[in-house]
């Protein structure tokens, strides 16, 4: 394994320390719960927005804490949902009169930790709602009850509920918006390489020099099927072919298009994919009105990309446009 790491067990705490040191004025770090929270949270006039999830998806979610996005993120270790305590203590630290919204990427472990924490918080009189994000079309939800996974589309849910809560919207309203955004968001990913959790020290799966995994999640778990590497055009066809018909997105729709890097793919390749997808959507009469190209939800250093579409309406577009200030930034 070649990574910038000291003791692998300290990988997450040391990363969180870096985030905190880089943003001393705006963020606060609670090491006991892997918690990165806004220094000015909780605010009585704002619903608190909390994400958990595992680590290894950075910038999601610890680097998107800030004005107009999350109030706090309390990830578990790499690829592990947070222990229930982390969520429960985070809710207590961030509780607000307006309520707390827990954003949960839809996985068994995350659901259980957040459900348990919600129950315990409610028993203490805290107003809590949960919202499960499940944008991944690679997974069909007929056979197993937990259903589709939450992947990079979670960015759009976070952005919109973050903006709405910043404007002072009530919990119900914030939940309505988040559910709407989730309901019009679909994603699909492709991996070119596996990834290596620091504590494991070796790749989670082996891919041949000419192989790709189609329909991967964001935890280094294998995808739905393996295929030979093909051209960027064909890869975009594969992704759009899965995503577009699923909602479906149709001629006349305005959409946001995200090409998300999974961690090891340079932004040059992501923009190349973006250009192809933008044109192919235009050919279908679908207008890309907003573009998102870069890393939003990664799988450690996995090379690969996911494509996300969000069907826009005036409300969503306005919330996506609203200003936000987070640790993940250029300047």
């Amino acid at each position: 394994m070649k990574k910038f790491v000291n003791d692998p067990k300290q990988f997450v705490p040391e990363m969180l320390t870096g985030i905190a040191l880089a943003n001393p004025d705006t963020l606060r770090y609670e090491p006991k719960y892997n918690l990165i929270m806004r220094a000015d949270a909780p605010r009585a006039d704002k619903v608190s927005i909390i994400q958990g999830s595992g680590s290894g998806h950075e910038p999601a979610h610890v680097m998107v804490v800030g004005k107009g996005m999350l109030d706090g993120a309390c990830p578990g270790d790499v690829f592990a949902a947070p222990p229930m305590d982390y969520v429960y203590e985070t809710v207590k630290l961030l509780k607000s009169d307006k309520g707390v919204l827990l954003l949960v990427n839809n996985y068994t472990g995350d659901r259980m930790a957040f459900d348990m924490a919600k129950e315990m918080s409610e028993a203490e009189g805290i107003k809590v709602a949960t919202l499960f994000i499940n944008d991944d079309v690679a997974v069909q939800d007929s056979t197993w009850t937990v259903g589709r996974r939450g992947v990079a589309g979670n960015f759009f849910v976070m952005k919109c509920v973050g903006a709405a809560s910043e404007e002072g919207a009530e919990l119900d309203e914030v939940v309505r918006i988040g559910e709407k955004v989730n309901s019009v968001t679909r994603s699909m990913g492709i991996a070119l390489t596996a990834c290596t959790p620091p504590a494991k020290g070796s790749p989670l799966f082996e891919l041949g020099d000419d192989e790709i995994e189609i329909g991967v999640g964001i935890h280094g778990e294998p995808g739905r099927r393996r295929a030979k590497i093909v051209s960027a055009d064909e890869i975009v066809d594969e992704l759009l072919g899965a995503v577009v018909p699923d909602l479906p997105y149709s001629s006349g729709d305005r959409v946001a298009l995200m090409i998300n890097g999974l961690g090891g793919t340079p932004i040059s390749e992501l923009y190349l994919l973006y250009g192809i997808a933008h044109k192919k959507l235009a050919d279908q009469g679908i207008t890309v009105a907003r573009s998102y190209v870069g890393e939003y939800c990664t799988s450690l250093e996995m090379a690969g990309a996911s494509l996300t579409l969000v069907k826009l309406d005036d409300e969503i577009e306005r919330l996506l446009e609203a200003p936000a200030e987070i640790a993940y930034r250029v300047f």
């Binding site: 222990p83 778990e221 995808g223």
Partner: protein, 209 residues
């Protein structure tokens, strides 16, 4: 007379030590169709059980088990934290109303744990989870008890069943947890959670030697 605390302690310690010792192995098992964190998660939690060992509240066996359950729930991430935590909590609640740590108590504890796991994760037998090792193991224990086998014999039989049942998960398709996302590709490899139960049961049986 309450259930013998020493017996509970001994079993818990074996479980904790086995989880810590097998971190890498359990992680490898979870890498095949999962995300590889199972060994790490268990080890980080049970490591704390061992570290806090001397300070755990030992008012009675139930309280002790409850404290262990709290550490597990609070400190283990992923699916395993809630699942294993719930199992320990339910087992603790069973012990509360029991007098001795005999075969019947063990079966009752396992029944409670199984119900807790089912309630927490929505899984059932045959869906390629740790239930596919625990439930057959529980049945073996119950059957041998009726036959009047010795504690040592029962422990050995339980371990054998757990191992064999874990091995049998190979042919199953995962219907729960992260492995389920891989669909039919999950067939052909054993379930990590079930295998861990087999390893732990074997370690427990070895204590009777």
């Amino acid at each position: 007379m309450a259930v013998d605390l020493a017996g509970i302690e001994r079993v818990v310690k074996v479980i904790a030590q086995t989880a810590v010792d097998n971190e890498t192995y359990f992680g490898e098992l979870d890498s095949v169709v999962g995300d590889g964190d199972f060994g790490y998660s268990l080890a980080r939690g049970f490591e704390i059980v061992l570290a806090d060992w001397d300070d755990l509240d030992r008012t009675d066996a139930a309280t002790f088990l409850q404290k262990v359950a709290l550490i597990i729930t609070g400190r283990i991430g992923g699916t395993s934290g809630p699942i294993w935590g719930t199992a320990f909590l339910r087992a603790a609640m069973t012990v509360k109303t029991r007098e001795t740590l005999d075969g019947d108590t063990v079966v009752a504890m396992l029944d409670a744990a199984v119900e807790g796991i089912k309630a927490r994760g929505g899984a059932d037998v045959g869906e390629k989870t740790l239930l596919d090792a625990i439930v057959p193991m529980r049945d073996t224990i119950a059957a041998r008890l009726t036959e009047g086998a010795s504690a040592k014999e029962i422990a050995d039989a339980a371990a054998t069943t757990a191992r064999e049942s874990a091995e049998a998960t190979k042919s199953m398709q995962a219907m729960r947890g992260r492995a389920a996302y891989t669909g039919e590709r999950s067939i052909g490899s054993v379930d990590a959670g079930a295998t861990a139960i087999g390893v732990i049961a074997t370690a427990i049986a070895e204590q009777w030697a």
